[in-house]
């Protein structure tokens, strides 16, 4: 049963496992450095569908299907489905789930949704409110672009700090303690805003939230960055990563050599013309489920802090001149469960 330590961290004392996971991507993701690790990639980001929204829905359906298949669990064995995406009213998640008949929670955490859904899924399992939960997240470059920015064929220029929305999805099946990867702790983030208004610099807007959540976690658990193999942020990109490392340094937790960012891993930033890196909630989701979880499962990585970061603005708030608040939820994912002493 979860135990609260410090002010914001929950130790998941039963160490729930991620028993199945899958990642789906499109052409650009396939061409990226992690392309070979995806469970399913398409040559075409339409996935054979008529609208981009349908394409994103297809990805979510596919990724859930693959994750369930990989752990041999069927729909009716899932107690709750936590799903989210970037589109208004989370339509990709709702439409992808409409045939599944699994009790459904639609989440909006912007690009932090993979951590948010995984936090909730692991808390539900740890608290024995559920035996198996699904955490699913997706984003699609084309559907995000037309909702948040411009028509695809519009001749605009991207600024050097802008990021490229990943067309991808990830899904995790969380169940009671069985095998690595284990979920050992969560820190639910707070909404932080240091006044960034440039919507082409999301990384800068989200870095303070990531720093705040990380510091809180280290304080609550009395650990330090060196105690982990990898501190993995969601989509801070090049600018946000540098800012996070500076913020952490100033807080007395230098971690530049332990830190990596999904947005910097999924694309070759210089060759693939993505400016400051990848973004979107499919970025953290697909990198986690394709590249990171398998390494934890085989103990190549032992202790990973995963925190997907979200920028909680909308086109309306931006047009009204509001600054961009950020959020980051943290999960400690480990190759080992809690020991007996830690549980007590």
């Amino acid at each position: 049963m979860a135990k609260k330590i410090g002010s914001q961290t929950l130790l998941l004392t039963s160490s729930p496992s991620i028993i199945g996971y899958a990642a789906v991507g499109a052409k650009k993701e396939k061409e990226g450095p992690l392309g070979g690790y995806f469970d399913f990639t398409s040559e075409d980001s339409s996935f054979g569908e008529k609208t981009w929204e349908k394409s994103e829905t297809f990805m979510q359906k596919k990724v859930v299907e693959l994750a369930l298949e990989k752990c041999g669990v069927s729909d009716n064995e899932i107690d709750f489905l936590f799903a989210g995406d970037l589109l208004n009213q989370c339509i990709s998640s709702a439409y992808a789930s409409r045939e599944r008949k699994i009790p459904f929670f639609g989440l909006y955490g912007a690009c932090s949704t993979m951590s948010e859904s995984l936090c909730l899924a692991s808390m539900f399992v740890d608290a024995k409110l559920a035996n198996r939960c699904l955490a699913v997240t997706s984003s699609h470059f084309c559907s995000a672009e037309r909702q948040f920015r411009f028509p695809l064929e519009y001749g605009g220029q991207r600024t050097p700090t802008s990021q490229w929305t990943v067309t991808g999805a990830g899904a995790c099946v969380v169940a009671p303690k069985a095998q690595a990867p284990y979920l050992r702790a969560v820190t639910v983030g707070t909404v932080e805003d240091l006044g960034i208004t440039d919507i082409n610099n999301m990384g800068a807007a989200m870095a303070p939230a990531a720093a705040r959540t990380l510091c809180q976690y280290f304080q609550d658990t009395a650990t330090r960055p060196e105690d982990y193999d990898l501190i993995l942020t969601g989509d801070l990109g090049f600018v946000g990563s540098r800012l996070l490392e500076r913020l952490m340094q100033s807080e007395g937790y230098p971690m530049a050599n332990l830190h990596n960012d999904c947005g910097l891993m999924i694309f070759d930033r210089l060759k693939q013309d993505v400016h400051a890196g990848g973004s979107g909630c499919g970025c953290a989701a697909s990198v986690l489920c394709s590249f990171i979880l398998p390494q934890i499962a085989c103990q190549r990585l032992k202790d990973v802090l995963f925190l997907a970061t979200g920028a909680l603005m909308s086109p309306t708030s931006t047009q009204q001149g509001e600054s961009i608040p950020g959020i980051a939820h943290l999960l400690h994912i480990s190759a080992f469960p809690h020991t007996k002493e830690e549980q007590a």
């Binding site: 695809l152 064929e153 001749g155 610099n201 800068a204 600018v239």
Partner: protein, 142 residues
């Protein structure tokens, strides 16, 4: 950490636009678009279009921009050309055509028909309004 300090850090860590390079590219590409316009203009003058030659030249560029946008290549040029393809009338046409293509999935009326003006609309609104103000002033001072 105050907002001012953080803004300072953000500025330090954010790569700058390649200003001079971008400006040169915009100059070059904008110049080319206008040169094409001038070629068309002389062509229409020879064909006897007279005073309307300049308008015909602009109309031809609008059509050219629409075709390039429809063939999904305008944005690839604009990525490099920047203001060079934004400021000429071709940019105005591209903003309407791209929106029409993008939002037809939301229907022909409220999608294609309405969203067509989502970027170009303000140009017409403020351009026409400015000209009305100018006309009224002109009427009273004449």
């Amino acid at each position: 950490m105050t907002k001012q300090e953080y803004a300072q850090w953000t500025q330090e860590e954010s790569p700058r636009s390649k200003g001079p390079v971008n400006i040169f590219k915009a100059f070059l590409s904008g110049g080319v678009v206008c040169t094409i316009g001038q070629l068309l203009l002389s062509l229409y003058e020879r064909l006897g279009a007279g005073e309307n030659a300049a308008i015909f030249a602009s109309l031809s560029l609008v059509v050219l921009s629409a075709v390039l946008t429809g063939l999904n290549v305008y944005d690839n040029i604009a990525k490099h050309a920047g203001a060079g393809t934004l400021v000429p009338i071709t940019g105005f046409a591209n903003s309407m055509v791209s929106a029409a293509m993008e939002f037809k999935t939301e229907g022909y009326i409220l999608g294609l028909g309405a969203k067509m003006f989502s970027i170009a609309g303000p140009v017409i609104v403020y351009g026409v309004s400015a000209s009305v103000i100018y006309g009224i002033i002109l009427y009273f001072i004449q």
